[in-house]
């Protein structure tokens, strides 16, 4: 009980702030609903709430949510691994860094939703692959930039020490550089994953992925089921928020030395 009390006491301002923000957003919704006066454009809060809770009893909803989350997590892991390998190479070798620079820029500026449609053709109509690939295209350059910034922020004194003592490249990478990058990377995990979910769902909407939140959104839109559309959107936002909160806790792993 004391722990719970302390929990709320420490986060008092955050909780109050969040409650005020949610109340404001609800108010804006109500005002918009009555101002527009057309529930095909702005659905009512009550109907949306009914659809939101009805979805919990729907197998189709959980399958779609699971599908979107799985694609997001897989894309995130692939992006993280790829970015880590590239950042490791770039931090140990100026040549590798120079070669990677234009590649990363190219990937970053690629119009991802157009790529989504192109991949769809190559994947012979498989609509589950392209959202994941598109998410990788968005997350990989962002995570790489974060890791490189961290690597370059490594205390110059430590780099000098490693050189003076002829510490092997392997040890430098796994015992100095990667652990140095870890705290910031872990603290960004939540933000990166929730961005990933956003991109995945957007791509799913475009290619109408069957087992995905995006696909359900597309179907609701085509059927003019605006309340369901809003309910699914709220579900996606809550899922993103929960992922952000959950994965942001990973930074606690580095508390011992930070």
């Amino acid at each position: 009980m004391t722990a719970l009390k302390n929990f709320f006491k420490e986060r008092k301002f955050n909780i109050i702030g969040s409650a005020v923000a949610i109340a404001l957003m609800w108010l804006v919704w109500i005002i918009a609903y009555y101002s527009v006066g057309n529930k095909l454009i702005v659905p009512s809060f009550n109907e949306t709430a009914v659809c939101f809770f009805k979805n919990f009893a729907s197998t189709e909803f959980w399958t779609a949510l699971g599908g979107s989350l799985l694609r997001t997590l897989l894309a995130f892991l692939v992006s993280l691994l790829l970015a880590a390998v590239c950042a490791a190479g770039a931090s140990l070798s100026k040549t590798v860094k120079a070669v990677l620079k234009p590649v990363i820029t190219f990937v970053r500026v690629l119009p991802t939703l157009a790529v989504s449609l192109i991949i769809l053709k190559f994947a012979q109509g498989d609509r589950s692959v392209s959202p994941a690939i598109v998410t990788v295209l968005v997350l990989f350059p962002a995570i790489y930039a974060q890791l490189i910034a961290e690597a370059e922020g490594l205390d110059g004194g430590l780099a000098e020490m490693a050189k003076a003592y002829n510490i092997s490249r392997r040890d430098r990478l796994f015992k100095i550089y990667l652990p140095h990058m870890l705290p910031a990377t872990l603290s960004q995990c939540g933000a990166n994953i929730s961005l990933g979910l956003k991109v995945t769902v957007s791509a799913e909407v475009l290619v109408n992925t069957a087992k995905g939140l995006g696909g359900m959104l597309q179907e609701s839109s085509l059927a003019a089921e605006t309340a369901q559309l809003a309910a699914l959107t709220v579900s996606a936002v809550i899922a993103g928020l929960l992922l952000d909160i959950a994965f942001s806790q990973l930074k606690r792993l580095t508390r011992k030395w930070c």
């Binding site: 020490m161 002829n166 015992k175 011992k256 030395w257």
Partner: protein
């Protein structure tokens, strides 16, 4: 023996050394005194291969004790030492020698400044090197800790007998530790004095040496 021949080093248009020659006797502690900006750290960095230079320096394997401990923050004291020595028994023994046996599992953030510098000193002696470079390693410590570290350093070095190049701006420290004293000014050695232990034990020798050093350092 560590030989430096015709060392020339400049940072842009600022010349630090031009044709510096220096020989260091094996197993002796050589202290280099000089004002800030006189090139003491640059000399150590040239020897350690941390900066480029023109000239010849005998290629030697160096240990380096920096002004700050420069411990890897995500590794414990023991793990930091293991970076330079894979023999766990030797690592643990060295931690005992520097009085940190109980702190082997501690991370650098939980060590005091003095304790962290002890780990740095332990690292330097554990690494099997030909020369030990020390760049004002005790300058940030208070007087009591500094004296403790001097004693510890001399105690450990009496066992390992490394060729030591110790850079400092503290005259008392230099007189206390050195077998040989050099003063660096304007990129040149302007004072060179070998002071054996027997001489240092003579009455008034250290005080006289100290006065001569202050005079050399402060004259224009």
């Amino acid at each position: 023996m560590l030989e430096i021949k015709q060392l020339t080093k400049a940072y842009g248009k600022t010349e630090v050394y031009r044709g510096l020659d220096l020989s260091l006797e094996e197993g002796k502690i050589t202290c280099i005194l000089g004002e800030s900006g006189s090139g003491k750290t640059t000399l150590l960095n040239c020897i350690a291969g941390l900066t480029d230079y023109i000239g010849q320096i005998t290629p030697v394997k160096c240990s380096y004790v920096f002004q700050t401990p420069r411990l890897v923050p995500n590794l414990t004291a023991e793990q930091n030492l293991s970076l330079v020595c894979r023999d766990k028994a030797r690592v643990c023994a060295m931690l005992e020698v520097v009085g940190l046996g109980e702190k082997r599992g501690a991370y650098p953030k939980s060590l005091s400044g003095g304790q962290a510098q002890r780990v740095s000193l332990a690292r330097a002696f554990l690494y099997e090197s030909d020369a030990l470079l020390m760049d004002e390693p005790f300058s940030s410590l208070d007087l009591r800790l500094k004296n403790e570290m001097h004693s510890l350093f001399l105690q450990i070095n009496s066992r390992y007998r490394r060729t030591v190049l110790f850079v400092t701006h503290d005259v008392d420290e230099a007189v206390k530790l050195a077998d040989r004293l050099l003063v660096l000014k304007g990129g040149k050695i302007v004072f060179d004095c070998a002071a054996a232990a027997a001489e240092r034990a003579e009455d008034g020798f250290c005080e006289g040496l100290r006065k001569r050093l202050v005079s050399v350092l402060t004259e224009g």
